[in-house]
Each structure stands twice: as C-alpha cells, then as structure tokens.
C-alpha cells in the first residue's frame, strides 16, 4: 500500500512540474533572464509550492511520526 501511495505522490509531483512549465528548461531560463524578455511564471510555481508546503509541513510538525509510522527525517 505504501508503494502505491508513493507512486501517486510522484505522479502528482510530475503533473505539477508539467503544468507549471518546469519541465521546459527554456521557461526556467526565461525566468533567469532579468535583462531580457522576463517570464516571472516561476515565482508563481515557488509561491504556490511554498504556500502549500508551509501548511503541510506545519500540520506534520505537531505529530510524532508519519502516517506510515516511520519517523520524520
């Protein structure tokens, strides 16, 4: 069961990368090109990820162990 959950987490992560445009090195380079035609999309990727992450990691902070019983690394 754990292996299935981890598979789906990988799937969600991959969908996130694809949808956000982070699978395209050209899009990342456009973000890094401040002096040229700047594409600020990556700010939204990081912003969305960190915002949800603060919630998720914050929720986990009060707990002793993860759902699968393994300690937090």
């Amino acid at each position: 069961m754990q292996r299935v959950i981890e598979f789906f987490i990988g799937l969600i992560f991959g969908f996130g990368l694809l949808l956000s445009g982070m699978t395209d090195p050209g899009k990342v380079q456009s973000f890094l090109d401040l002096a040229g035609q700047w594409d600020p999309s990556l700010v939204f990727v990081m912003g969305g990820g960190v915002l949800i992450g603060i919630l998720g990691f914050g929720l986990a902070r009060g707990k002793k162990a993860s759902f699968s019983g393994t300690p937090f690394h």
């Binding site: 959950i5 598979f7 990988g10 969600i12 996130g16 445009g21 040229g36 700047w38 915002l51 949800i52």
Partner: protein, 145 residues
C-alpha cells in the same frame, strides 16, 4: 527589464506549484521524507542505501506522469521541453547539477520547496545561492558573451 507577457503563465504555474506543494507535503506526512528529487535519486544509485523501494515507487510515478500527460492532456497544457544544446554540453551541465546538488545537500525541490516551507535557514541560503548563480550565468551568456 521587459516582461514576456506572451509566455507568462501565472495560472497554470500557480496550479502546478500547488500540486508540487501537495506532493511534498504528502510525502512528508505519509512517509516522513523530504521530497528532494536529486536526493531521492542519489539514494537509488547508492549501493549502501537500503530504503530503495519508496524511492523507486516515487520515481516510477514521476516517469508515469510524463507518459500519462503525453497521452491524455491537451497539448497546450504541457510545456514540451525544447533543448538546443549538444549532447556533450548537456552531459557537462548534468554533471554540474549533480555535483552542486550533492555538495549543496539539495536541489530546487528539496531546498526551494521543502526547506523554505520549513523555514530552514540552510535551505534559504542554498536557494538564494543557486538562484543568484542562475541569474548571473544567464546574464553572462545572453548579454555579455
């Protein structure tokens, strides 16, 4: 600075970022692990690391996402990677990414998403450092040389 409005994708990038955050949160809540892609890969390649099963499951899911999207998503949802560099340059770049992420103990997902979400100072320094290097490298390559 001029903004590239034509390629600016705030909505899909935000939704994608949220999915990345959801995946990172779920992996930590469920398995107690940090979702750092290079770290997960490193554990798969190292012979001494014993916990390969969850790493493999995650990586298989990651690969599957690409296949599923290719088969079932509308074309304009996917930013198909376009790579102009030669094989040798790509290999050199890959080697640098590998060395940098191992010496820096993390990549964009591990430090940039998970670390920043946990208010880790080490991750903030790592993220600022690789972002600054990225800005500088692109500036030098596109506007100086």
């Amino acid at each position: 600075m001029t903004i590239d409005w034509l390629n600016f994708t705030p909505l899909t990038s935000l939704i994608g970022g949220v999915l990345i955050g959801v995946a990172a949160s779920l992996l930590f809540m469920n398995s107690g692990r940090i979702l750092g892609v290079t770290g997960i890969l490193e554990g798969l390649l190292r012979s001494r690391v014993g916990d390969k099963a969850w790493r493999l499951s995650f990586v298989l899911g990651l690969f599957a996402s690409g296949l599923i999207a290719q088969w079932s998503w509308p074309a304009d949802w996917i930013h198909a990677p376009r790579i102009d560099a030669s094989w040798s340059l790509l290999m050199l770049a890959g080697l640098l990414v590998g060395l940098g992420t191992r010496w820096g103990a993390g990549c964009t997902s591990g430090h940039g998403i998970c670390g920043l979400s946990r208010f880790s100072l080490r991750s903030l320094i790592a993220t600022l450092s690789f972002m600054a290097t990225g800005f500088l490298t692109i500036f030098l390559i596109r506007h100086i040389f």
